[in-house]
């Protein structure tokens, strides 16, 4: 007997049904989808204000059914602070790449975390400036070749990559800081759980949550999508360990960071 069709899968409602501008093999699309799934799960998409940043990530507002404002390069956390203070009842998140958040916007992200602003930061780390053509980023690994470190990043001249999830975890204002990857199904499932926690914290008014996604950039890494995906597992995770670096009930001057998992 023919069973009645039962839908077991559908795209998230918060996600706009449209092709993206991202390159083949880019992980932004997966992260967008996870954000949409979490907003649906918490039923908050219609209460959400997204703060977009500068770089490949800017077009997130084309892919999510949420109110959005565009921040200048690096300033998303400061803009989100203004949004948060103006709309205490809204859900506020920033979506930022590594150049934006960890170089030009380092002061803004540190101070926003340290104030314990009740918001969620989605940080996509692909170790290069993507939109401008693959230049050395604050998270470029030592030895990694980019268009402005053509012999590979040298610690002696370029310093070392910043591990943002660990740095943010060290701030008293942070309640939650974690690093995830989306290169395997297992990692994606884990990432969804972590991101859900990052937004749930905000819904429950706990404070500042930070989720770093390791992401592939096949175009600027000069790799095929599959090779780029493999590199995340082989190289990036070694340089940027996955984990939850802080997870607590609330932020405050006396809280200690602790590592779980």
């Amino acid at each position: 007997m023919l069973q009645e069709e039962q839908q077991v899968f559908s795209p998230p409602e918060a996600l706009v049904d449209t092709p993206t501008h991202f390159c083949p093999g880019c992980h932004h699309g997966i992260v967008h989808r996870l954000v949409a799934e979490v907003l649906d799960r918490l039923r908050v998409a219609q209460d959400t204000i997204c703060v977009a940043s500068v770089g490949c990530s800017v077009f997130i507002y084309n892919y999510l059914h949420v109110d959005a404002v565009e921040a200048p390069h690096g300033r998303a956390a400061a803009v989100a602070t203004g949004v948060r203070r103006a709309r205490p009842e809204s859900i506020v998140f920033t979506y930022q790449g590594d150049g934006d958040l960890a170089a030009i916007g380092l002061a803004e992200i540190l101070y926003t975390a340290n104030r314990g602003e009740n918001m969620t930061v989605v940080f996509v780390n692909n170790t290069v400036y993507g939109m401008t053509g693959g230049q050395l980023a604050p998270t470029t690994m030592v030895g990694q070749k980019t268009t402005t470190s053509q012999q590979g990043r040298r610690f002696e001249t370029d310093g070392a990559p910043l591990r943002m999830a660990e740095i943010i975890a060290g701030l008293p204002g942070t309640v939650y800081s974690a690093r995830v990857a989306v290169d395997t199904v297992q990692h994606i499932k884990k990432a969804r759980k972590v991101l859900l926690k990052g937004f749930t914290n905000q819904v429950e008014n706990r404070g500042f949550s930070f989720v770093e996604f390791l992401s592939a950039c096949p175009t600027n890494w000069r790799l095929s999508p599959l090779e780029a995906n493999e590199r995340v597992g082989k190289e990036l995770i070694r340089a940027f360990p996955l984990g939850i670096f802080k997870d607590q009930e609330s932020g405050g001057p006396d809280t200690e960071s602790r590592r779980s998992e």
């Binding site: 219609q46 200048p72 400061a78 709309r87």
Partner: protein, 354 residues
């Protein structure tokens, strides 16, 4: 509605803070800098007591971007600083102009360039009236000359910002910021409901999502956006405001704004007592610049002397305004020199008698 109230003896900076409160400012973001620190000091107390939000930001840049975020939500919001700090805010001001956000920015101007000094200066005239940051944009610019005007024009700045969805600069200087005068704080604090606005962000419940941005990449989109902005800047011309003092029978008209306007007024009075035919034209809006009334005075055969506490900036606008019939001389009081009426008497007479 104006209701008679007891006078308050306050600094110009405090008058600005009280004006922001009266205007219903709900969010204020700032970073300390002389000579405007009385504004954050006062608002950190009275705004927060009234249920508003104050953040002492990690930088001028962050403060301006917090302003961007709050105004994107349709809230009446403000930042204030002095010249070096205003330079740092220009990035966000350009974005707010491009995204059409109703921000109020107070600049209690000090001497430059660079770190300059904390002395009074009008050296940020170009910066305020030409946009100040990158791209083709303008900010409405108001130039109060007294503590009462500082109060009144701060209220007006919020109204104009929302009328045009555009950043508005209140351009004072260290004299105005630090001097005390009685003011009538006539307006009761009234909070505007931001929910009714057609553009502000609050979450897309029951409506389509809204986007506030300044990025226009598709074919022709940026040109269209710029056209719209330019039309808006033209429409602002109806807001032109100025004070004309004894200009009717004057042969020589002093053009000066802000504190230099009132210092010049004393000089004009003294010269009038000696029977000399001089008058004062004080632009109150610097952008839009009141060029039509100046052109009319030029048609009547008047001559002009622009006096500024800078190396000569507004004089460009005066010359443009009167160019068909006349020109303007310039008397420049360089930043670092505290202007006084006595020093103006000789240069005014020199121009009058040439």
């Amino acid at each position: 509605m104006k209701t008679e109230k007891a006078s308050l003896l306050v600094k110009g900076n405090e008058a600005i803070a009280l004006g922001a409160m009266a205007a219903g400012c709900e969010c204020y973001f700032a970073y300390p800098i002389t000579p405007q620190s009385e504004i954050p000091e006062m608002l950190s107390r009275i705004l927060v007591e009234a249920g508003g939000e104050f953040v002492q930001a990690e930088s001028e840049i962050a403060a301006a971007n917090m302003l961007l975020g709050a105004t994107a939500c349709g809230k009446r919001a403000m930042t204030s600083s002095s010249s070096p700090g205003i330079s740092l805010k220009q990035e966000a001001i350009s974005y707010m102009a491009g995204s059409q956000l109703p921000a109020v920015i107070v600049n209690v101007c000090r001497g430059g360039p660079g770190l300059g000094s904390i002395d009074p200066s009008q050296g940020d005239y170009y910066q305020s009236t030409r946009g100040g940051g990158h791209g083709d944009y303008r900010t409405l610019t108001l130039a109060p000359a007294s503590c009462q005007e500082a109060y009144d024009q701060t209220i007006q700045a919020f109204d104009l910002a929302f009328r045009y969805r555009n950043p508005v600069v209140v351009l004072g200087d260290a004299i105005l910021g630090q001097m005390k005068e009685p003011i009538q704080a006539w307006k009761e604090r009234a909070i505007q409901d931001s929910r009714g606005l057609s553009w502000s962000l609050s979450g897309a419940r029951g409506r389509k999502p809204r986007l506030l941005k300044s990025l226009y990449l598709s074919d022709g989109a940026l040109a269209g956006h710029n056209r719209l902005l330019q039309e808006k800047y033209q429409a602002m011309r109806v807001e032109c405001d100025w004070e004309a003092y004894k200009t009717d029978d004057a042969e020589l008209i002093i053009v000066a704004f802000g504190s230099m306007g009132r210092i010049s007024k004393s000089a004009v009075r003294q010269l009038r007592e000696r029977g000399l035919p001089v008058g004062l034209f004080r632009p109150i809006t610097l952008f839009p610049f009141p060029d039509e009334p100046l052109a009319k005075l030029a048609e009547e055969g008047k001559r002009f002397l622009t006096i500024e506490n800078n190396a000569g900036q507004m004089v460009d606008d005066v010359r443009l305004a009167v160019r068909r019939q006349s020109d303007s001389e310039l008397y420049s009081v360089l930043p670092g020199i505290l202007a006084n009426p006595t020093d103006l008497l000789e240069p005014i007479q020199r121009v009058l008698h040439t």
